[in-house]
Symmetry: C2
Subunit: 348 residues, 2 copies
């Protein structure tokens, strides 16, 4: 349905105008889409021109705090929700869109594949989407790089018994809510009592592993999660929380998720979210045990840029998808969306 040219006709509401929302708005604008509305609950952003937030010229579109008014009046093709990580926090803003029949794509990590972690809310959301004829998709860098990347690489394998991975991201890139969810600043004992004990805070890898297994046609028999604290080896400044995390305290979480399938394949991904030391970069490394063994990686991924680009590149698939809560394993890998910039070349 969408081709490159139709980015011109695309009307987008940005819901959440923080760090990620601003990058997404710039990417969308550079592709030629029109940001027809911008919502943020933060009163201090109210009335700001989105061009100011994006670091580009004035656009005439201002951030508003009243979601209902914006959504009722701007006739968007899709709303991009860059707010929080878990469905329980995202339910209200998603329903504001879905009950109006507005398609949603969101950075919320649980929404990548929320069936195992929030089955009832997910079923409810799926039913509402069908009722209102719209689609909700969760994407972000996990979509191309934690789900479709290993799935594609296995297209050149004969046998597989284990998929291992190590992914990481800098807690500093995602705001206060995420830093707190990762236990930054806690003592090890506090971490063990709260985050380590609680499966109410599932790692995003629980969701991405399930999406990967679903993509591969593997049925999940069992999922185990170990939340291990990552301890500061020296005093580490956390800008997001505005505090120095003392040596010996928690600077993040390593979530090791082991997903055992009925096909005998084990998927075990360690997801390390922590406050980086200077010079440290993200990981996105996979190892496959099988025939043949494989090692593949995306080196030092720019997680913010990839998440925002993955969201934008997914939009045509969302608009093409049937109504419902659609997970990325049901979609082909997202295609790079280039706004046409034809080169005028004189061939010799």
């Amino acid at each position: 349905m969408m081709n490159q040219g139709t980015w011109d006709q695309m009307r987008v509401v940005q819901y959440g105008c923080g760090k990620m929302g601003r990058v997404i708005m710039r990417y969308l604008t550079e592709k030629g889409a029109r940001i027809v509305g911008a919502i943020d609950r933060d009163e201090s952003l109210a009335g700001k021109d989105i061009g100011e937030l994006m670091g580009t010229g004035r656009t005439g579109v201002q951030v508003r705090t009243d979601a209902d008014t914006v959504l009722d009046n701007c006739a968007p093709d899709i709303a991009v929700l860059a707010l929080q990580s878990y469905l329980t926090d995202m339910h209200k803003p998603i329903l504001e869109c879905v009950t109006r029949g507005i398609n949603v794509i969101t950075t919320a990590e649980e929404l990548l594949f929320s069936w195992p972690t929030s089955p009832e809310m997910t079923a409810n959301l799926d039913a509402l989407c069908r009722e209102h004829g719209c689609t909700v998709v969760g994407s972000g860098m996990q979509d191309p790089y934690w789900v479709h990347f290993p799935a594609l690489m296995l297209g050149g394998a004969h046998r597989v018994s284990q998929v291992e991975g190590e992914v990481s991201y800098n807690v500093e890139d995602y705001g206060i809510a995420l830093a707190k969810a990762h236990g930054v600043g806690l003592t090890k004992a506090e971490f063990e009592r709260t985050i380590a004990q609680s499966f109410d805070v599932p790692s995003y890898v629980v969701n991405s592993n399930e999406a990967l297994c679903q993509r591969m046609g593997w049925s999940v028999a069992q999922t185990r999660q170990q939340a291990l604290p990552v301890i500061a080896q020296e005093d580490t400044e956390c800008k997001t929380l505005g505090q120095t995390v003392k040596k010996g305290r928690v600077i993040g979480m390593s979530a090791k998720v082991t997903t055992i399938t009925r096909q005998g394949v084990v998927v075990e991904i360690q997801c390390i979210g922590k406050v980086y030391a200077p010079g440290e970069g993200d990981l996105c490394d996979f190892t496959v045990r099988g025939e043949p063994d494989m090692r593949f990686s995306l080196q030092a991924p720019d997680t913010v840029a990839h998440t925002c680009a993955a969201i934008v590149n997914r939009i045509p698939d969302v608009l093409r998808a049937p109504a419902g809560y659609i997970t990325v394993d049901q979609l082909p890998p997202a295609r790079f969306q280039s706004y046409p910039m034809l080169l005028d070349m004189n061939e010799e």
Copy 2:
């Protein structure tokens, strides 16, 4: 059309029972497919049980040299051709299958995307496939790793100006024809006069770059190829040719292919095929200049295993495809085909 279970019903003819053909037959057999015929022109293989060639038990299927008789009598769903690299050499065996309406998948590198390098023969082949209601596809490790891998990784990028790559393979793994095509044993001057000057021997990267550009929706404006000799730094044994290549002579070819697109993106891949020194491994590394910059790789790919696995994993797509010469950019990434081995797990 195909699901995992139907591997049991699959009837395959193996055409070319050399190094690659034997691995492919084993993979197919382990997936549950039936090898119903085996063809090789090598008289010394005539009458050999394919189980002997695969290193497994006896199967009752013998290699035969008379392709016509085998193809007329074994009613295959598909023929797997593991013979030579270029369409001009593959035309006859492919037509033997196509004129009988037999689907073909082949390791022949040019067939990955032969439109730019052999336009007339490709058009002729495409027309014959349509006339006889069957499909021809060229695959191998370039399919997942040189075409779909960079295409998928760009799904998390906002802008791209250049895709660079370095891929390599060991000439020793592919038999005499390929070693000669890479100039092994020549002097540098002989290489310059023959291989370097001749675009009649296009690098396989010309084909894979075009497939990648097609996949991305980029139209190719210009392709340049530089064939650079790789010089032996010390005397190097080439088992394939049964000779020692003296220091200073050619042990392979680095083909640098620069593909310039009208969208302004340049794809420049260096493909190094040479006789490896002990301990040397394959490369499959990519760098993207854009927003963000990216580096990704498959480390030390097992090129033979990947090529054979990619061929087998592609078979369901070939059987599902419309009649014609179909290139891998027109297909989704190949999916890992697992023969069901359900795990009997008692959940707690």
